[in-house]
């Protein structure tokens, strides 16, 4: 049986080394168009393990994903925070638009428990996103592989946060990004993705909240029952005539 290259490329999971795999990858827009453009599938990958490598805490590494997390939690799915370095702070998460009632924080006593909790959460299918903070994973390729499989089984977004030192070690994650901050911008390198590595680091203009101009008074959401909507602007109910 002979197959031409053109036919092979049509298969899901097969792509040319030089181009991004765009087709049929479940992904969620991150809310940053410049980043989405560089991600295969046009968004943060679902159902697979991804890594965010960063040195230092407080670069905006979590809020970068806030949009994707909120989307992943749609349909009452949980967002699980496993072994976060500090306490996820409820007011800030609410501000970022995350559904607090779907956030579960897990503070395991040891590594073994952390990995177990991550695997269970991913496999259960109850979680839209599972975030794990873990260092010293270099020798744990097999564990990462298990998380990868679990994420695939549970159709969940699995994000592992670790330091940039991990970049030297290989990982089964389908996406690895390295985040650092330069002034107002977040610099993002993508050393691994389904496609060619990103040559030029990406500068995401992400001013911090205090750097932004004060926003005008926020408009009241339209579905607020307290607000009167003139009848003319209400969507009319049409009944199709036969």
């Amino acid at each position: 049986m002979k197959a031409t290259v053109a036919e092979l490329v049509q298969l899901p999971g097969v792509w040319r080394g030089g181009e991004l795999e765009l087709a049929r990858l479940p992904s969620i827009p991150t809310g940053h168009p410049a980043l989405d453009a560089e991600l295969p599938g046009g968004g943060w990958p679902m159902a697979t393990l991804s890594e965010v490598l960063h040195d230092g805490v407080g670069l905006g590494e979590v809020t970068l994903l806030a949009n994707a997390l909120a989307r992943a939690a749609e349909g009452e799915r949980l967002i699980t925070w496993i072994h976060p370095p500090h306490l996820p702070y409820a007011p800030a998460l609410a501000q970022a638009g995350l559904p607090l009632s779907q956030c579960v924080v897990v503070r395991p006593a040891d590594r073994e428990d952390a990995l177990w909790a991550a695997e269970q959460s991913l496999k259960s299918g109850a979680c839209g996103a599972v975030m794990l903070w873990m260092e010293h994973f270099a020798e744990e390729y097999a564990w990462l592989r298990r998380l990868q499989m679990a994420a695939n089984a549970g159709r969940a977004m699995a994000v592992l946060f670790r330091s940039t030192a991990a970049e030297r070690h290989s990982s089964p994650a389908h996406l690895r990004i390295v985040v650092s901050r330069i002034g107002r911008a977040l610099e993002i390198r993508i050393p691994k993705r389904r496609g060619p590595p990103l040559e030029q680091p990406l500068r995401l203009d992400l001013p911090r909240a205090w750097e932004r101009k004060p926003a005008p008074v926020q408009p009241v959401p339209a579905n607020d029952p307290a607000v009167f909507v003139p009848a003319a602007k209400r969507p009319a109910l049409h009944i199709a005539a036969r």
Partner: protein, 492 residues
């Protein structure tokens, strides 16, 4: 009326062997202490040549590693009662007979889509519990029992659904299957009356005069001409089941198989009552004195055996057992109403929420209830009280984990994604705070003064500061000591 009879001829053996089949020959002894007889035997004993009714002494000669267990009538009747409670999931009308159960299932046929499917569901369920039963289906309870006994004797009997077919279906069955007095059976045999068809040929008054009115009544009841009412069994409003292990078990893995049997039985009993259980205990008996009690608590009433088993597995896996386990007990005092979860056509939000609750329970079962929690916005301006833990799997709090959606979320000014558990004092250089380099103040101050009313007063000025690496942190200084800086959060 349609009755299903379950006969358990090997019940004495199964009471012993339920927790695990013993590989060696095993017999159940009964009768006088001086000369006990074999009442029941397993396949290995049969292969060695042991037969039912033999003296135990003779059986020991045939199989020298024979294990002899005295018959325990109390355990058998208890097992039958629990089996009746389990069978309550198929029909409310379950009656206990001397060696089995009868179930009236006319009203359940629609639910289980026919007698054939119902019978196979019952057979499958009984096997899962570790019992072996033969099943008879007939329009009267006595006929159903007759059929079930015929099956136990190795005779194939077709299920009889209509009363009109009963005469023909039962006709060939021998009379000794009925528990009529031996004297009556002997006299009937002398008359040449061996089969059911022959009895039906006899005139009724003659039978009553010769063999007694109770025989005539039994015939009429079996044929459905006289009513045969039964008292339905009502299980007690709690659950307690004990299972002795065939051999002492050292590890926890070997407990899971017998535990599963008990939990499946429990699930059946709960289904029969329309109940669920919120807290139960698994007790491991080591010897007369030592016991290990493992309480399990759920956020809402549960009854699925597989789910309870998964939780129990995590809990048991963490135990350090001091001694080998001899017996297993599942005990629940309060059975609560169970709200069945309806399955939507497409898996939707409600189902996801249930999956989530179960996941949280499983995590909490292994990690501990204080290590798995939800978060919510607290109603206080002090940053450390501006969030509250929403305990997830903790019993009693119910499903507060799904606390009210924070719809009316107050508008805060800048808040960091990470909050330190306790503020960390920063070193200063010429009055400027340091954290991996000098911190530059970017925004602030935001003054927070609160708590003077409860003795935990806070008077702080909060600032946002960044260092050369781009790390943004939330720092404050107190009014009473403006030179001391504290780190309280990080804008991750």
């Amino acid at each position: 009326m349609l009755w299903i009879a379950l006969e358990l001829p090997a019940l004495p053996l199964q009471v012993v062997e339920r927790a695990g089949i013993s590989p060696g020959p095993l017999v159940i002894a009964e009768g006088p202490a001086q000369r006990p007889l074999v009442a029941c035997l397993n396949a290995a004993a049969e292969a060695a040549g042991v037969r039912e009714g033999q003296a135990i002494a003779a059986a020991r000669v045939l199989a020298n590693d024979l294990r002899v267990v005295p018959r325990d009538a109390a355990a058998e009747s208890e097992a039958l009662q629990r089996l009746a409670a389990w069978a309550g999931q198929f029909t409310p009308m379950v009656a206990i007979e001397p060696t089995g159960l009868v179930l009236e299932v006319e009203g359940s046929l629609r639910l289980f889509r026919g007698a054939a499917r119902l019978v196979s569901a019952i057979r499958r369920g009984i096997r899962e519990l570790g019992f072996q039963a033969t099943v008879g289906v007939a329009p009267t309870p006595l006929a159903a029992r007759l059929f079930a006994r015929a099956e136990a004797q190795g005779r194939a009997v077709r299920a009889c659904v209509a009363l009109a077919d009963l005469r023909e279906r039962a006709g060939d069955l021998p009379l000794f299957l009925l528990d009529w007095p031996a004297k009556t059976l002997a006299r009937l045999t002398d008359l040449g009356v061996l089969r059911w068809r022959d009895v039906l040929g006899l005139p009724a008054e003659g039978v009553a005069r010769r063999f007694g009115p109770e025989i005539a009544l039994a015939i009429a009841r079996l044929m459905g001409t006289v009513a045969d009412p039964r008292e339905p069994y009502t299980p007690p409003p709690r659950f307690h089941a004990r299972l002795e292990l065939p051999a002492e078990a050292d590890g926890v893995e070997s407990l899971l198989f017998p535990l599963r049997r008990l939990l499946v039985e429990f699930e059946g009993a709960l289904r029969g009552r329309g109940a669920g259980v919120q807290s139960l205990a698994i007790v491991l008996e080591h010897n007369r004195r030592q016991r290990t009690r493992v309480p399990l608590d759920f956020a809402s009433p549960e009854r699925e055996a597989e789910f309870i088993l998964a939780i129990a597995r995590e809990r048991l896996g963490r135990l350090q057992l001091r001694a080998a386990t001899r017996a297993l007990i599942v005990h629940a005092d309060a059975l609560l109403p169970y709200v069945p979860r309806t399955k939507p056509w497409l898996p939707g939000a409600q189902e996801q929420a249930l999956e989530g609750e179960r996941l949280v329970e499983r995590l909490a079962a292994r990690l501990g209830h204080d290590r798995v929690f939800g978060i919510a916005v607290g109603n206080d301006h002090r940053p450390e009280r501006n969030w509250i833990p929403a305990f997830a799997g903790k019993p009693g709090t119910g499903s507060t984990f799904r606390h009210a959606k924070s719809g009316a979320c107050p508008r805060f000014s800048l808040r960091p994604a990470w909050l330190l558990h306790r503020p960390q004092k920063l070193i200063t250089q010429e009055g400027r705070p340091m954290l991996q380099g000098v911190l530059e103040l970017r925004a602030g101050p935001e003054r927070i003064e609160a708590g003077w009313w409860d003795g935990d007063e806070v008077q702080r000025d909060y600032f946002v500061a960044t260092n050369a690496r781009g790390e943004a942190c939330w720092i404050y200084r107190e009014h009473r000591d403006p030179a001391a800086w504290y780190l309280h959060g990080l804008f991750a």
